[in-house]
């Protein structure tokens, strides 16, 4: 008899693949978190780690702490919208408000001091310009 363990990943994916609508539900969706801190701690730190310290394994998750690439709010907003290399795009899962909130949160925490915020309207413009 096959054990559940050996069926593992394949089994559930088969079920998912067998029902298109179901797959859509599982792979897409929105995050409930609204504040920058809640979004960072609820989602981003899954890779960028608590304290935004980053991590190294087969590849590397960049540290967001003390990161000069955050000087302009547009760059991190673009990366969240469209992804970059190993980082998935989150444009379809986050509202403009959520992206602005988390970008602004990271830019004034973890040893970063870039207080001029990016606005949801500016995120919306970036979203439109890179479609």
């Amino acid at each position: 008899m096959l054990s559940f363990k050996t069926l593992g990943f394949g089994l559930a994916l088969a079920l998912v693949a067998g029902a298109g609508a179901r797959a859509q539900e599982i792979y897409s969706g929105h995050y409930p978190q609204q504040t920058g801190q809640a979004i960072y701690q609820g989602i981003c730190q899954g890779c960028h780690m608590p304290g935004a310290l980053g991590a190294v394994g087969a590849g590397a998750y960049p540290a967001l702490a003390h990161n000069p690439h955050l000087a302009s709010g547009e760059y991190p907003a673009l990366v969240v919208l469209n992804g970059r290399k190993a980082m998935p795009n989150f444009g379809s899962s986050f509202s403009d408000e959520q992206i602005a909130a988390v970008v602004n949160y990271v830019r004034v925490n973890f040893g970063n001091h870039y207080p001029k915020p990016i606005t949801p309207a500016e995120v919306a413009a970036l979203r439109a310009s890179t479609k």
């Binding site: 054990s3 559940f4 559930a12 897409s28 989602i43 087969a58």
Partner: protein, 175 residues
């Protein structure tokens, strides 16, 4: 090949295994194998298809998620993932509270040698990058589920390795 590698990110997935003092899903609820789907963040509960009717402890797949829920889980500590999974599951099976013993959680984005679960291909990405990803580039040839048309599956990984070895062999023999 470098462009293809940079273009393909990995989907997130997590699994949580929960050990219980007894197989209450069989004994109380007549559930033998199968899956309960839920709209809670744990997405599903998988019941073992083995050792039916046995006494003693049992293990459930307490959570198995993709997409947003997988990132939410990955952002938690392993202990928190297990605790949350017990909390979500208890809404479906109140027996969880009495019978839970311990659990283990894996988030593939936190597994150092993969940093993710499976390559996320779209039709557009395939058209643009798949041939380059699979091509022999200098001294490097890639093999794995990410270099196959059956992503995330062991079958894709095996077929990819056979294909890579075949092409490598062909190249060496005609050199």
């Amino acid at each position: 090949m470098q462009n293809a590698i940079d273009a393909l990110y990995y989907d997130a997935s997590i699994k949580v295994g929960l050990q219980f003092k007894r197989r209450f899903w069989e004994q109380d609820d007549a559930i033998y194998g199968g899956i309960s789907f839920t709209d809670q963040p744990n997405s599903m509960i998988g019941y073992p298809s083995t050792d039916y009717f046995s006494d003693g402890k049992g293990v459930l797949l307490g959570a198995y998620t993709f997409g947003p829920n997988a990132f939410l889980y990955a952002a938690m500590s392993p202990e928190e993932r297990v605790a949350k999974t017990v909390e979500y599951g208890a809404k479906l099976h109140p027996q969880y509270k009495e019978e839970f013993e311990n659990g283990v959680a894996v988030a593939w984005h936190r597994v150092p040698w993969t940093l993710g679960c499976a390559g996320h291909w779209t039709e557009e990405l395939r058209a643009q990058h798949y041939d380059d990803l699979c091509a022999i580039d200098g001294r490097i040839v890639l093999a794995g589920e990410h270099a196959s048309r059956i992503p995330a599956w062991q079958e894709g990984a095996l077929l990819s390795s056979l294909d890579a070895i075949r092409r490598l062999h062909q190249r060496v023999m005609t050199a």
